[in-house]
Every structure is written in C-alpha cells, then in structure tokens.
C-alpha cells in the first residue's frame, strides 16, 4: 500500500519561499502567475493492514505541524 501526503502552509501563513518563486516567475516574463504556495509531498510505503487512521496520526504527530500547516492524504 502506498500513500502520498501533501503538506501545505495554511492560508494566512506567509510563505516567503512561494513568494520568492512568484517573483522569479514574474521576472522571467510569466506575467500570468498571481500567486505561488510551496509545499511538500511525502510518499509513504506501508505494510498491508495500515489504515488511513494510522496515516492521519502520522500527519498529526510528525509529518505536519498543524499550527502552521494543513495536510491531505492521498491513497495511491
């Protein structure tokens, strides 16, 4: 079983790295870019029997810091 966890800064939390990427894209002439948010993708390879609840617990305890980040779990 595989799962993919997407971790993004919450809306309202400043993302200076995303902002720097937006600036760079603008400087390259990509005027159509109005905003960039940068996050992380974490791929998990899981033993049989792992549940989505297990992955949620991993996200809450380690993979995301829910003070500043939100996460989405995708089973693949």
């Amino acid at each position: 079983m595989k799962a993919r966890v997407h971790v993004m800064l919450k809306n309202g939390v400043l993302d200076p790295q995303g902002e720097a990427v937006r600036h760079a894209l603008g400087a390259m002439g990509f005027d159509q870019v109005e905003g960039v948010r940068q996050g992380k993708v974490i791929d998990l390879e899981l033993a049989e029997g792992a549940t989505e609840a297990d992955i949620t617990e991993m996200c809450e305890k380690l993979l995301a810091n829910t003070v500043i980040e939100r996460y989405e779990i995708e089973l693949v």
Binding site: P16, K61, V67
Partner: protein
C-alpha cells in the same frame, strides 16, 4: 544547582550553553538525545541551538520525537525549568511545550548578527536580572526564526505577559516582533537570539550574562 544540556546530532551551541551555565555556578550534565531520562536532580534543562537532524522535515520536528524530549516534556509538565535557544526554541514549539511555530525568515536569508532586544517583562526567573524596557544586545544566527502564532494565541501571550523579548528592529518577520516567549507557568523560555553567545568578555558583549545569573539566583538551594 544542576543543569542538563541536551545534545542532538547537529547541535552546535551545546558547549557554549554549558559554559554559560557553568559560569553562573551550575553543575552541567551533557545529555545525549537517545537517553530516555534526565539525570536525577536536574533543576533546569537547556535545549541548545544548532541544526538537529539537519533540520530535516521541519526545524526541530525530528528532535521533538526523540526519547530525551519525552523526558523534557515530563520535566516541564512537573513544573521543571527549561530554556530553548534558537533550534532549542524550535524544538520546544514542536513538542508543544511552547505555543506557536518558527517559520522561514521573511527575507529568506540566514541572518547572523547582533540585534537589539527589548526586555518585555522582568517577571520570570530568566529575565528578573533585567528591567522591563531594557534594550540589550544579543546575537542571532538563524534561517527559520520568524515566530508565528494565531491571533488567539498571540492575544493570550500578551494578556498573560508571556512575551519575554521583542526585537527593536524586526529582522525576520516575527509576528509582534517577538524574539522570545514564556510558558504559562513562566518556567520555560524559548528564544531565537543567543544569550550564551553574549556571556563572556571574549564574545564582544556580556548582555546575556544576567539571564544565567538570574537563573542561578532563583534555583540556588535556600
């Protein structure tokens, strides 16, 4: 008086912190991150600066899950004293001992220089050697020192007089210019600047000495 300084793979201010404690009269034990218990009779735990676990995942996130951090959480829950400096502050927020989080500096650059800090409260074992309103010079050296807390947390910190230090000129985008905060029982301090790097004439400044001296005054056996 006994202090324990935690050593993670990647800590690099552990020795400086130990020296600052020793100069203030503490006997210091260096404690490895894989240890599951603090030495008996520890009065204060120091969580030092550095790059624990290479800052992988998030600064302090992996360290916060180490065996010794469970012991540090238990120590603080029992009312024990602790101070986390720089990466140590990041670790204390990741364990949940202190609220909020440290984000990438707003200017994206690693900043290493001496900054002005305003002492916001002298009501703690860490800051009672200063007067509220004092401006002291303490070095910073961080890439992720941009303190963030939601509005409710920020209001609580302000209402409970738990903001220990603010920057006189905000270098990193921290909300409310916050450089250091206290726990609700005022026995845990987390701060990004390095008082242990301003604790000896050879450092070029000694404004951090009062912090360690105040601690030894509070924690000295009666």
């Amino acid at each position: 008086m006994r202090a324990a300084v935690i050593v993670f793979p990647g800590s690099n201010c552990d020795r400086d912190l130990a020296v600052a404690f020793e100069q203030a009269g503490f006997q210091v034990d260096m404690v490895w991150h894989k240890d599951a218990a603090l030495p008996e009779g520890v009065d204060i735990v120091g969580v030092p600066g550095g790059f624990s676990y290479g800052d992988y995942l998030r600064c302090g996130a992996i360290a916060a899950q180490s065996p010794i951090c469970k012991a540090v959480v238990n120590h603080t829950e029992r009312g024990g004293y602790a101070v986390g400096i720089c990466n140590g502050f990041q670790i204390l927020t990741e364990t949940g001992i202190l609220p909020g989080a440290l984000l990438r500096n707003a200017g994206l650059k690693y900043i290493c220089r001496t900054v002005g800090l305003k002492v916001e409260t002298s009501d703690s074992a860490f800051t009672e050697g200063y007067n509220a309103g004092d401006v002291i010079s303490i070095p910073i050296a961080h890439h992720d020192g941009n303190y963030f807390a939601d509005d409710a947390t920020l209001a609580k910190l302000q209402d409970q007089d738990r903001i220990a230090f603010t920057y006189t000129e905000n270098p990193n985008g921290s909300v409310g210019d916050i450089a250091g905060i206290l726990s609700e029982n005022r026995r845990v301090l987390g701060m990004m600047p390095h008082p242990e790097r301003a604790a000896d004439e050879g450092h070029g400044g000694t404004d951090g000495t009062a912090l360690f001296r105040a601690l030894s005054g509070v924690l000295a056996p009666a």
